[in-house]
Amino acid sequence: MQMPGGKATSAPIMGRDEEPTIFELSSPGRNAASFRTTDLPEWTAEELVPAEHLQAEPTPVCEVSERDLVAHFTRLTHRQYSVDLGAYPLGSCTMKYNPKLCDDAASLPGLTDVHPAAPPSLTQGWMELLADLASILCRVTGMHAATLQPPAGASGELTGLLLMRAWHADQGRQRTKVIIPDSAHGTNPASVTLGGYETVTVPSDSRGCVDVAALRERLDTDVAGIMLTNPNTLGLFEEDIAEIAAAVHDVGGLLYYDGANLNAILGVTRPGDMGFDIVHMNLHKTFAVPHGGGGPGAGPVAVSERLTPYLPGPIPVLGDDGSYRWDTPPKSIGRVHSWHGNALALARAYSYILANGGDGLRKVAEAAVLNANWLRHRLRGVYDIPYDRPNMHEFVASTTSLKKADGLKAIDVAKRLLEEGFHAPTVYFPLIVEEALMIEPTETESPQTLAALGDALEAIARSPEGAQAAPRTTPVGRVDEARAARQLIPTWDARP
């Protein structure tokens, strides 16, 4: 078979062809790697590895030149949308612009080239950074202490639930249930299960908030706690939060705050002040850690004083001698990460916080909420707005009426929007809204971009014909997801 070679028709600037895989670009004997000259004895594999362990054949990887390697992955980047190309109003994901200075900060050799097992005498700078970040995050959330180990939000959730579990056990209680709203993100119930609890769902009321009466019915001494995000996934602030907190605390339960939506309230209000006992933050949302196409993130967990003794260790603490040491809390649930969490992501967030400062962080929340409310107003009468009242950083629209009228589904709007030069909103989430379009503009989009987004969304609604065929301008057209699951091809080697 003739190998495809390095033509660039897969780069949208030239064409709409497939990009060959790195394996198709391989040619036997070609290579790119080179290593330092070491002057060491050149013992053979046979001399170094016991026969019973030595592989018969080298592990097949691929065989490409540096030139083809660079061209391949550069072309792939041209087939990838990103925040740096334009707006990304993906609800719940807070796809704000990530300042470039944070990239510089996180690539300082003094941070990147530090071994995680190096003794504190060699890592004081890192330990100060981590300790200060933890303390700032506590001040931002109104909590007492924090662990920076969880590498993502879901990991933070599970960490929080294990803290809940350890605390109850310590109180000599056996609790079995955790309550979550029907609007909750999927990681919440999944984490509840892994935390060894049973999920009890509480419905939302007509205002899109937790139905407090229904909640009370579910509250009993089997309840370990409740997981909420506030503003919730509809972008609405849970106005009864104080009442909810009291009710949960009354039965001896704890309140867990899913911080994915923290961007909305920075400097305005704090989970701690609302009565939450445990808070996780998504630094890859609120604090501008770029999402990397799916990660890495960082999901620190902050807790109130009574839960502090249970935090994972080690934690950097400042000794009287003015130097930092690693300390593990007395009743720690244990580590939740191999080392100290996604440290470079934490450094990025730290530099972002330094740049914004307390004043800047509040401006972030203000502009995020301003943008989201403006866009909701803009889309009135164009899309259904099931909960049409002041929202926070995001809001949920719906194509229910448009679907009835013209068969325009949320997914069609999403695909059409790609043609209009914007990433799609989050669709079909939260589950309690049908044909949901969950829109989060974030604070870094200008009013002009917002206006253009509004115009694009209106244009789509006004002329829905052909939407099912969208997108037509992207490197590939609508992708057959069913086929992928039906005839699974998870690797190049698995192709029929």
Binding site: L40, N98, A190, A424
Partner: protein, 437 residues
């Protein structure tokens, strides 16, 4: 200054006007007065970009980073390997860095194809058919392996070799508190796991090479009859038989050695691969090849019904955000290495390791912790405690290794990568001899 909100005051006023509002505070009317934060955050005011960089630079200088002034012989799951310009510059292309999880495949073929290639490469190293699109790190990959194994075996009991990295075992225990899995640790006897003859575990977890650098006998582990979970060093895949070829059901590992700097331990990369039969219990994302409406090859995340956003409390795992960028980095680095390069790299590590080990053992008072064969890392007993050696060697310009806890009998774990030259090693050994006596 220092913040990234583009709105001018005039624009804010316009937007408020459009909504019939007169002040930004009104936007927060839904928040009860009592909950409003009075006085603002107790966080210092924003800094300009150069001021931020000055402060970050100060913190960076307060560390002693590995390099010519602190030559690295430390490993224990975090290795000082070569990262070529190509890998850094491609990985940090902003399209990879600033994209979200590929929810809209039509504009995410870049990340999706890179992950498809990553999955292919990982299965080739692991010797099993399926690999996911990454997990957080080596430790949490072990946790997911244990969860998968218990679910498919239907047995709560899992044997975990004490040859598995101590912090990884700690993480396994932490999460077992939630799942209730019965984790039993199996001790090492001269450097290798001594599996009990009886007891019916649902799975056994062994590390290859193990924490002390010793080569484990995977057949022996397989003979327990349980599902075999192997935490494998991916660099060793350049020389060793693949875990899959030796019966592994799940292969996990730490992907840091392929293009990721030491970074105080993160972000790293959780490798996860398994046999086809376990695919419906696979944690995390899986990318599959499919077609678009015009029958062009395309990629998409698939078998999503395993995942939390659809399966919710019944999901195979709660993982959502993973370590995609590090997986892309790993794919680029592995492609740069290639078939010959991966083997060459492993060989170079093994040569440096043998050379260093022989030289250290020639120092009197320095004893092997075990005689079991090692590959790229080894443990020694030292006259003074390992942590003392590390402190003293730091003054000599070396990160001597990782001090071993007393339950390993103290001493030092030493790793030698392809970056270490004979001159560096000779200087290291000379300094070592000086400080231990």
């Amino acid at each position: 200054m220092g913040h990234f909100v583009p709105h001018t005051d005039a624009e804010v006023a316009d937007m408020l006007g459009f909504m019939g509002l007169s002040s930004v505070d009104e936007l927060f009317s839904a928040i009860p007065e009592a909950l409003r934060l009075a006085g603002g955050l107790e966080v210092a005011p924003g800094l300009s970009e150069p001021d931020v960089m000055a402060e970050m630079g100060r913190l960076a200088r307060d560390n002693r980073a590995c390099g010519p002034d602190l030559v690295c012989f430390a490993g224990a799951g975090a290795y000082d390997h070569e990262v070529p310009a190509v890998t850094r510059r491609l990985t940090f292309r902003s399209e990879f860095v600033t994209a979200y999880t590929p929810y809209q495949p039509e504009v995410a073929q870049g990340v999706l194809q890179a992950l498809f290639e990553y999955q292919t490469l990982i299965t080739r190293l692991a010797g099993v058919e399926i690999a996911n699109a990454s997990l957080y790190d080596g430790a949490t990959a072990c946790v997911e392996a244990v969860n998968l194994a218990v679910a498919s075996s239907g047995r709560e009991k899992v044997w975990v070799s004490q040859g598995v990295h101590p912090t990884w075992r700690e993480v396994i225990r932490t999460f077992a508190a939630g799942t209730g899995h019965d984790i039993v640790e199996i001790p090492l006897v001269d450097g290798r796991t001594a599996w009990p003859a009886d007891g019916e575990p649902g799975a056994v977890l062994v590390q290859q090479p193990n924490f002390l650098g010793c080569l484990e006998d995977l057949e022996a582990a397989k003979r327990t009859g349980a599902l075999l979970l192997v935490a494998a060093d991916p660099v060793s895949a350049g020389l060793l038989k693949s875990p899959g070829s030796q019966g592994a059901d799940v292969v996990v590992g730490e992907g840091q050695p392929f293009g990721t700097p030491l970074s105080l331990g993160g972000p790293y990369l959780g490798l996860f691969a398994c046999r086809q039969e376990h695919v419906r219990r696979l944690p995390g994302r899986l990318v599959g090849e499919t077609r678009d409406v015009e029958d062009r090859r395309a990629y998409v995340t698939t078998l999503r019904t395993r995942e939390q956003d659809i399966r919710r409390e019944k999901a195979s795992s709660n993982v959502c955000t993973n370590q995609t960028l590090i997986a892309v980095c790993c794919a680029i680095q592995l492609s740069w290495l290639g078939t010959a390069g991966l083997r060459d790299m492993a060989l170079r590590c093994a040569r440096g390791t043998r050379y260093t080990r022989e030289a250290l053992l020639a120092i009197d008072g320095v004893e092997p912790l075990t005689e079991a064969p090692v590959l790229r890392e080894f443990a020694v007993r030292t006259p003074c405690r390992g942590d003392v050696v590390v402190e003293r060697m730091a003054d000599e310009g070396f990160l001597a290794g990782v001090a071993l806890d007393d339950d390993y009998g103290g001493g030092l774990l030493v790793a030698v990568t392809e970056r270490r030259t004979r001159a560096e090693i000779d200087a290291y050994v000379a300094a070592f001899e000086k400080v231990v006596n």
